[in-house]
Symmetry: C2
Subunit: 419 residues, 2 copies
Amino acid sequence: MHDFHYVDNRLFCEDVSVAQLAKKFSTPLYVYSRRTVLDHYLKIKRAFSALKPLICFSVKSNSNLSILKTLVAHGAGLDIVSGGELRRALRVKADPKKIVYASVGKTRPEIEEAIRCGILFFNIESLQELGVISEVATRLKKEARVCIRINPDIEAYTHRYITTGTLESKFGVDFQTARIIFLNQENFKCVRILGLHMHIGSQITQSGPFLSALKKVCGFIDELKKMGIGLQWLNIGGGLGIIYRQEQPQTADEYARAVLPILKKTGLKIILEPGRFIVGNAGILVTQVLYNKDTRARRFVIVDAGMNDLVRPSLYDAYHEICPLDNRRMLSSGSMKLSDVVGPICESGDFLAKDRLLPLFDNGDLLAVMGAGAYGFSMASNYNSRRRPAEVLVKGNRYYLVRSREDFDDLTRLERIVG
Amino acid sequence: MHDFHYVDNRLFCEDVSVAQLAKKFSTPLYVYSRRTVLDHYLKIKRAFSALKPLICFSVKSNSNLSILKTLVAHGAGLDIVSGGELRRALRVKADPKKIVYASVGKTRPEIEEAIRCGILFFNIESLQELGVISEVATRLKKEARVCIRINPDIEAYTHRYITTGTLESKFGVDFQTARIIFLNQENFKCVRILGLHMHIGSQITQSGPFLSALKKVCGFIDELKKMGIGLQWLNIGGGLGIIYRQEQPQTADEYARAVLPILKKTGLKIILEPGRFIVGNAGILVTQVLYNKDTRARRFVIVDAGMNDLVRPSLYDAYHEICPLDNRRMLSSGSMKLSDVVGPICESGDFLAKDRLLPLFDNGDLLAVMGAGAYGFSMASNYNSRRRPAEVLVKGNRYYLVRSREDFDDLTRLERIVG
């Protein structure tokens, strides 16, 4: 569910007309619904309330400071993956004790900064990383808290680029390596191992893979217990799928019902790391039709947003629904034709939607690319020397420009000309 | 050919040790050879000297102002695709009379700015666009010069995302539409049609597709001539392939030999739009090994550059050679193993190279990702809140920081926090 809906055939975000925002801030434009963000966050929180888990929002899915602030102000923790995301977390005054840090490539300066500011723990992705963290902590004369990220070798049945829980992927350590780490904890000075982390991928719509992974991890927890090794935390990651098209993903409640019994039995404090589930359907990308073009092969709707603004269709073959801001277009279905919605970028990979039954739009018509709240702006680039879009946050009948559109000087500010 | 080579097993860019640059400017780091850029430019210029074509460098392949300045100072024109690229062209004082502007999605403000500054011509991608250009020019009381981009419906045999000359793609107009445009020129007020443009794709290694397309276009030129319609310009686009791996692309000379006779017969002034051919092998991405990780399935070399810095492997399955800055690593081949070189970004799509026979590197070892001069930095993003790399231009034994690394404040400068 989300707070984008038609009122008299005009698309609204909460109580604000999206066309009004496009007029005021121009296009392409990201528009987020604050209420939707919080709804999704609270849905997970309620579904898991029996366990009072720490819900760490996945910053990489949408790093906008106001989105982060909204969630942090409501008690969320943050799941970060870089020094840059740590800076963002600190900018919104997130409680370091609610920050967990995963990434296969943490650098020494990043590790040092995270230890200094006292994050809850690192998710360890390799034996060597644990050694480096120990080294840095020892030098700083501080204790580093860590969880071991287990790669449970489970196929998540999602896009190959976002499945992360098989041994073909670079993430986590296998059970044997984890065993070695736990049995040799004393070798890692100034490190305290608090628990386990798992994350098997993204946009997973069924509980099957989660359950399989979780059972393997819980078996391992039992094994450790028998060896006298007790844990405090179990971080079960993110990956909950959302509806982009016709998917029927498990709801937060269904997911909770499936995993709660297993989690309870561990007796551990639980962490969840939702990203897409919270923001995916809470954002849209608004774009304007520039030209229509009929070829013998197909109709092209050429719009002013491109793969630099939203790369998911091109990179992941992702499906995003296309909705005109004025829905009367869709109702006058006489002129419906299979169409590609494409951007202005000079490559064929620059498309937002393919083979959609769409009416003939007028130039200047405004369209919403739905479900663009996660991995939208956070992956945007300046390809073709295009300025990245502005971002607007809607809250009831008010709206806030939470990131201005880049201007041309922003694109070259760091360059100097040598001939 | 390019100016990256080993001297006593140390990688040099021209006369500068790349390791020295990495030490001074840190990693990840783009390093460009000015001499290689000019060599490639001059190779095309010489190969086509019989026709004295205007060579317009494709700005989108590498938009760094110093690369542009280098080429412009040597007489090159520029092939632009956006208002942002026009700004860049003006920043390096390119002669507007040597600027051509293609893009299926030119906006009215972009068109107006380009007309005002007097570019050589627009490459027209659709009937509607021509109408808008005429409208804007009429309003400005200026003349807009255009060429019609022909989509010759030729398969270029390259990656589906960079083939642009079939009717399945959004680019150009078919012959029938072009015919209609030429026969109704007087309907487009304040527009002067100067010629034809074709561009069938990128990284094309054989002359066959070029020749087929060119023959179709030349047949059309003859047809127009018979109708009494004379042209001045024929823009044959870019798309020349380079060596990333074992490709044996046509050289500039071979390409010229194949097409020169046909071009001469047209009697038209010729434009070429090389991008990758000029800068592709003139740049590398330097990165540092952070961790090694052996799983049962494979070895991962985890480096500090990721898909946000260089998206080609992830987006196009592109192959980039991996060369250690200290080549003695490669010579001690005892520890060679099939390896994936992967970045720190939290998705499985984040890799720079897969299944390469590589030695066991030490953490801290420096690697060069070769052939990263085109579609490297120009496609970089801040995904995972990572700062984009610095760029260095080498000129003989000197080097220049032509773009500074972003700092963390650059990432959030345009945002404001609303909770």
